[in-house]
Amino acid sequence: MKKYKIFAFISIICVLTACSESFLDKAPMGDVSDAAFWKTSADLESAVNGIYYVIRDRDARNIAQFWPFAANIPLNDMQTTSYGDVVDMANMKWNSTNLWLNCIWNAMYMGATRANVVISRGSKMDNIDATFKDIKIGEAKFLRGFYYLMLVRAYGDVPLLLEEQTDATILPTRTPKVDVLAQIVKDFTEAAAVLPASWNDANKGRATKGTAIGYLAIANLYQEDWDAAITNSEAIFDLNQYSLLTNQKDLYKWGNENTSESLFECQFRDATTDGHFMEYFLEPTIATAAMGCDPNGWGVLYPSNQFRAAFEPGDKRRWQILSKGETLELIGGITFTMDSTSATPNGLACAKYWVGRLPSNNSPDQNIILLKFSEVIMNYAEALANKSRFADAYAQINRIRNRSGLPNKATINEIEACIQDINKERRIENFWDENGWFDLTRTKQAKKFLLDTYGITMPDQNYLYPIPQTELNLNPNLTQNLGY
């Protein structure tokens, strides 16, 4: 009997105490969790790819294809009669429930959060090649800076979140724009230090040193740190990676992707799984039917008459718009001529994104250019002008003009005029690209431009987007931008 007792007491003590905490440590078997992830360099690379993906995430309504709206519709150079929220954008009737003004916010935070995860967890990986890791973390930092730059230029002060989110930090407050910009500059600088000057074919499309410095220079412009902007712009020239193509048109021609003029593009490859809709927006409806193709063009966007009038005689960039009787060369000698049947409300159409190919051939998968060398040059010019180096600034403007068959512009030693000349060139050069409106707001020219060109009075608050109403509803710590 005594033996039983001893045995039993021992077993009780064992069972009451033996179970250790690790008994409860389980990991999901059907999903990839932290327990299985962050082990190999392939894990890290795929996580970085996931950050890039936001640029064209379908959940973000193909954000890259949306940016031309954000960067052009407020300028009114591209007109639309469809989409109420887009029309409101053009008419400067902005409010906090406009989906097109809101979706940048949502998508950029999605991207920034993914970058935070990679930076915090990827940095802790210690069993992979250190150089490889540094480059990947560099890409993540570049992307975080990029997403925050997009936020800052649209919304001003925004919550700056640099750590992986938990449910304890759901309701952030806004961080002053200067602080956000300082962080953006830090991220771009650290990225530029590790990113390669170019990538091999298998990795084309990733951010390079040039990409990081290109956006760094833009961030410097927002900081009004002209010296840094000049230094960084010159650093891009020194990389000897980038040059202007002979014809500006070639940058947009079908099949010309990731050219020497391009610093960053949103990559598309397979139209059936991840193509965009840019072409559909831009082609006139009847035109496609007339070409014997599917009448897929929606013809909902068309250049304004004012924009047509803005071209100087002999400007080769006039190809970007088609008016009645004008012809666009498509693929294999086929041409398309605007006629009365291909009418848009004012008879004009934008030729970008379908030049050099059959319209609506069901594969709108041309890369969308996010930053190009001609913009670097004009950003450099903007910085020079602000340092009163007007002759140098005009030299840069003329580089752009000369390429498209225009003569030199005479130097005007006056900041306002010089900036306006830069913006005039930008208006033609960057039509329906990704930055136009934001260059105009940064240089404080937007209000004057809209009044002079379109007779639209721009309310002062429209220098910034409104903070999305859904965010204000959910986060009492957020404040709305002044005037909304």
Binding site: F23, D31, F37, N49, W199
Partner: protein, 1040 residues
């Protein structure tokens, strides 16, 4: 050694006794129990000597008594030992009282048993003899139904499927299922054989349940299986056979009526009516409801062999059950084997095993689906079309060339249900091994090891078959899916119990640990285009495989102290600490205390003088329990999302980012939001109760007030987009917003429970009456961010209605428009709130509200309002039993009151035009009364082929009173006289006739008011579910 000596001495005495060396007297007699049944194998010993014997099968004994002063001791397990002086009697007959009768009823509680009279918590018991054996219960829930106050059981008519069990209301928007404890180990009741069951005890309040901590918030149901009884083997054979059928038919149009309405619909829409229906009166009539329903056979065979010595006892139970559903083709077969064994090594050391194996196979049918359910489609079939063509093949239903008359998405339901195979197979093994050791007197150590294995296989096959000429349904190619799942759970429970009485102090203390872990996997193969329509996945042209797995672990420490002073004052304190794998390591431990007190007033001296009160106790309890089942609920059991604190990674919706020349580079992102602070839903429960036994124990009353508040309800709370992480899984979700699971909500349930039992007899006529009633008031107190939970209900892919779970209302209330009659003329339209596109004859809605909360003169989404709750105000059961000589009778009435049902079926049979496309289908006969000119109807809108869709918006038209009173069981039995059966060497024979759901009193217009829908957000929505049926069975209980 001692034992051997005893046996030796006994032998010596026997030998010497029989050889007549001592002149002794022989005493004979019979030992019976209070039910006048003989007690076999009872020990009969002369006190202080080694003289002894045991009784035979008839309870007879013979013993030699040394002297008239000798005392004879009669004892048997489960009975109170009795001592009788021998005197000079030659015959001594003895009646043994069972321990239950003397000590009072014993109830099973968490990790032990307690005397009912000493309970301070709220526990309700159902004994096998009362409920389980007397009715043909196929699943465990049926054994509980109507017997226990506070326990709501909603039948599930799908053959072999468990119903829904809710204890004291619905306390969460997540999982509301109670915890089932089977022979001491958490388990699943799904495949249990009710014939195995000795008792079911339901722990309802915090005091009783909270010993199960974080799994106890929905109540605990403890199932105890039958054990062997010592004595020579007893064989009991129970069987029943019967039929079930759908007790109600929808009153649908016949061909002439249908054609008349259809013709009117086409004419009203300026379309040419179907020429085939030009002469409605000439059309033949076929009944499609009859074609898909049947008398389904139910049969059950249960064999229980039990016996043993006082040292080794065993019970073997074999069961086979076969149930054919009342809808054609659907059926379920189950067989099970149970072997429960007890070994008593010594008085202090006991071991035992419970082994249970079950296997089932089920043929399912498409059901519970608003658009493709077999019964739903059958009632909408064109009554002029036969099921079979003249050549005996299935009628390939007409699809007219222009598709205007016969819906293209309707197939012959009889063909579909026969040709499409939905089969599932399951096997489960449960083994429990336990040992108990009494270390010192009163101190017992018990250890249970439980093992649970389960396998499930699914085999679905859809052959290529033309059920419509246009091959619209997915029959253009064969498809099959085979799945396989396996899971296992290991449970280890160790308890140390000390129990002792010091004078007036009665103390029982318990400490213990419980560790549960397990894992599971599933594999799935789906294939398409098999050659020759064969069910051969390997030969298919396209094959896709998929799989998943999971692991889980729970660890618990618990303790309980029970103190009774002077048999009057009872105090119980429980504490449980639970750890779970589901939560962040820093938050995974939860602590759940509870306490209860009771005062047995009847033991006070001042009460002893009141003769009609036999027992009176008041009790109160308060405590906390949890509901960790809600963590990850609704996202697949034990799925990855059970880990809200872990980051999970996956591909972005839509694919991979393109880099270089490749089509896509592998892209990964954080897929789920990280909710590190998620914890258990915690429930605080108060219970105040009274138990009374009156009038010589003939009346027993229990009444309780309960109130439980579930706090930290797990909800998907919308979070700002700055949170960034949760990748939206659909195209539009970036606009509809992000959400994160958080402990944000608060729900209260409170109510009263009352039950009364009365037993009496008049001569040979015994009778008992029992009644119980439970009220439930369910209130959502908070939903975190305050936004209502909008559960959308779809009918043939169209949004048809909503339930809203909103603060101040109950969970899952119906939400929609309020009808206001029918527009009789243009003047009424002009003078009414604006409704787009209406013409006279269209439905009119009430202008309840505008965007600012005041009526705005137009009908839009702002006019939707609350239309009623699916939660009954009260539910009740009423039992009546009687026996006279060999006859016995029992009846149970059961029902609920004050709940509403959203009748989706009405959305199909009160509209002629097929919502989702073209053609018309049959409608309810009542549609003949539809609006057809001013003043003709104010409830049913005009009939048209392309009616105003707004006539069919989710509204109070579909919300119906769900109250019902039903005769759940009616049982008439006859036990053959023993004089008759003994001749055949049979112990006992009882035959009985049983009917279930004999009648139902309800205003509900659908098939049946019992809506078995486990999702609390849609619990009152009748999608056109498998209707509860009426059955008649003939049963036989044999005892050998």
């Amino acid at each position: 050694m001692k034992r051997n000596l005893k046996v030796f001495l006994l032998l010596v005495f026997f030998i010497t006794g029989t050889s007549g060396i001592f002149a002794q007297r022989t005493v004979t007699g019979k030992v019976i129990d209070t039910g006048r049944q003989p007690v076999a194998d009872a020990n009969v010993v002369v006190k202080g000597t080694s003289i002894g014997t045991i009784t035979d099968a008839d309870g007879m004994y013979t013993i030699n008594v040394p002297s008239s002063t000798s005392i004879i001791v009669f004892s048997f397990i489960g009975y109170v030992t009795k001592e009788v002086g021998a005197g000079n009697n030659a015959v001594i007959n003895v009646t043994l009282e069972s321990e239950t009768e003397v000590l009072g009823e014993v109830v099973v509680v968490g990790y032990g048993t307690q005397l009912k009279k000493e309970l301070s918590g709220s526990v309700v018991s159902v004994k096998a003899a009362d409920a389980i054996r007397s009715i043909p219960a196929v699943t465990m829930d049926q054994a509980l139904l109507g017997h226990a106050s506070g326990v709501q059981v909603i039948q599930n008519a799908i053959p072999g499927s468990m119903g829904t069990v809710r204890i004291r209301g619905v306390s969460t928007t997540g999982n509301n299922d109670p915890l089932w404890i089977i022979d001491g180990v958490p388990g699943s009741p799904g495949n249990l054989n009710p014939g195995d069951i000795e008792s079911i005890d339901v722990l309802k309040d915090a005091s009783a349940a909270a010993i199960y901590g974080s799994r106890a918030a929905n109540g605990v149901i403890i199932v105890t299986s039958k054990r062997g009884i010592s004595g020579k083997p007893k064989v009991q054979f129970d069987t029943y056979y019967g039929f079930q059928h759908v007790w109600k038919k929808m009153d649908m149009c016949n061909s002439a009526e249908f054609a008349t309405l259809a013709n009117r619909a086409y004419i009203n829409s300026n379309l040419t009516p179907n020429p085939a229906w030009a002469d409605p009166s000439s059309l033949p009539d076929y009944d499609w409801q009859d074609a898909v329903t049947r008398n389904g056979a139910i049969q059950n065979y249960n064999l229980n062999i039990s016996g043993g010595t006082d040292k080794i006892r065993s019970a073997l139970i074999l069961n086979y059950n076969s149930t054919q559903g009342p809808i054609i083709v659907s059926n379920n077969q189950r067989y099970s084997v149970r072997l429960n064994t007890d070994y008593e090594v010594s008085k202090r050391l006991k071991f035992g095993t419970n082994l249970f194996f079950s296997s089932s196979s089920t043929r399912g049918i498409p059901i519970n689906d608003g658009s493709t359910g077999i019964l739903n489609q059958a009632i909408q079939m064109w009554p002029d079309q036969p099921v079979y063509s003249p050549d005996g093949s299935y009628n390939i239903l007409l699809t007219s060339a222009n598709g205007l008359y016969y819906p293209r998405n309707f197939a012959n339901p009889v063909a579909r249900v026969n040709l499409y195979k939905y089969q599932s197979f399951g096997q489960g093994f449960t083994g429990q091994f336990f040992g108990e050791l009494e270390l010192i007197k009163g101190l017992k150590f018990k250890s249970i090891i439980g093992i649970n294995y389960g396998n499930g296989n699914g085999r679905n096959f859809t052959p290529f078959y033309q059920t419509t000429p246009a091959n619209i349904l997915n029959t253009t190619q064969s498809s099959l899916s085979w799945s396989m799942s396996t899971g296992k759970t290991y449970t280890t429970i160790n308890t140390l119990t000390y129990s002792n009485i010091f004078g007036k102090h009665n103390i029982t203390a318990l400490v213990g640990t419980e560790a549960i872990s397990g894992d599971g996997y599933f594999l799935n193969t789906s294939a398409q285009n098999t050659p020759n329509n064969l069910e051969v996945p390997s030969a298919a042209q396209t094959k896709i495989g998929d799989g998943n797995g999971y692991e889980f672990a729970y660890l618990s420490y618990f303790g309980r102290v029970n103190y009774i002073y002077n048999d009057k004052y009872i105090l119980q304190v429980n504490l449980r600490a639970d750890g779970t794998y589901k939560l962040d390591p820093s938050l995974r431990w939860g602590y759940f205390p509870s306490a209860s007190i009771a005062w047995r007033i009847s033991e006070e001296n001042f009460m002893k003088s009141i003769p009609f009160i036999n027992d009176l106790k008041i009790r109160g309890s308060y405590g906390a329990s949890g509901n960790q089942n809600s963590i990850g609920y609704g996202r697949g059991l034990e799925s990855a999302t059970n880990y809200p604190f872990l980051s999970l990674y996956g591909s972005p919706y839509g694919g991979a980012y393109t880099l270089g020349t490749s089509q896509g580079s592998v892209s990964t992102m954080v897929q789920t939001a990280i909710a590190t602070s998620v914890q258990w839903e915690t429930q605080k429960m108060t219970d105040i109760g009274i138990d009374a036994a009156l009038l010589n124990n003939s009346i027993k009353i229990t009444a309780d007030y309960y109130s439980k508040v579930t706090d930290g309800l797990l909800l998907a709370v919308p979070v700002p987009a700055t949170f960034g992480a949760p990748a939206p899984q659909s195209y539009n979700s970036i606009y509809s917003g992000f959400s994160l699971t958080q402990n944000a909500g608060k729900v209260k349930n409170d109510g009263l429970e009352f039950s009364i039992e009365y037993n009496s007899k008049v001569g040979n006529f015994n009778y008992n009456i029992g009644a119980n009633i439970t009220t439930v008031k369910n209130t959502v107190i908070s939903l975190g961010a305050g936004q209502p939970i909008d559960q959308q209900m779809y009918l043939t892919m169209q949004l048809f209605g909503n339930t809203y779970t909103q603060e101040g209302h109950s969970i899952g209330e119906f939400y929609g428009y309020v009808t206001d009659g029918i527009f009789q003329n243009q003047a009424e339209i002009t003078s009414s709130p604006t409704q787009a596109g209406v013409v006279p004859g269209d439905r009119k809605y009430k202008d309840v509200s505008g965007p600012d909360g005041v009526p705005d003169g137009k009908i839009d989404a702002n006019d939707r309002t609350f239309l009623g709750s699916p939660i009954p105000k009260f539910f009740y059961g009423f039992n009546l039993g009687a026996s006279y000589k060999g006859f016995d009778f029992s009846m149970m009435l059961q029902g609920q009151y004050g709940n509403k049902i959203f009748n989706e079926l009405k959305g199909q049979i009160y509209v002629l035009h097929n919502f989702n496309g073209i053609g018309v289908g049959n409608v309810a006969k009542e549609m003949l009364l539809s609006w057809n000119g001013e003043g003709t109807s104010n409830t049913l809108p005009r009939i048209a082929y392309n009616p105003n869709g707004d006539n069919y918006k989710g509204s109070d038209f579909y919300v119906e009173d769900g109250s019902y009173l039903r005769c759940r069981t009616l049982n008439l039995g006859y036990t053959l006289p023993s004089s008759l059966v003994n001749r055949a060497n049979i112990g006992g024979v009882r035959i009985y006739l049983n009917t279930q759901n004999l009648f139902t009193i309800t205003k509900y217009s659908g098939f049946d008011p019992e809506i078995n829908n486990a999702n609390p957000l849609t619990s009152g929505v009748d999608w056109g579910q498998y209707p509860v049926s009426r059955s008649y069975t003939l049963g036989l209980n044999l005892q050998f």
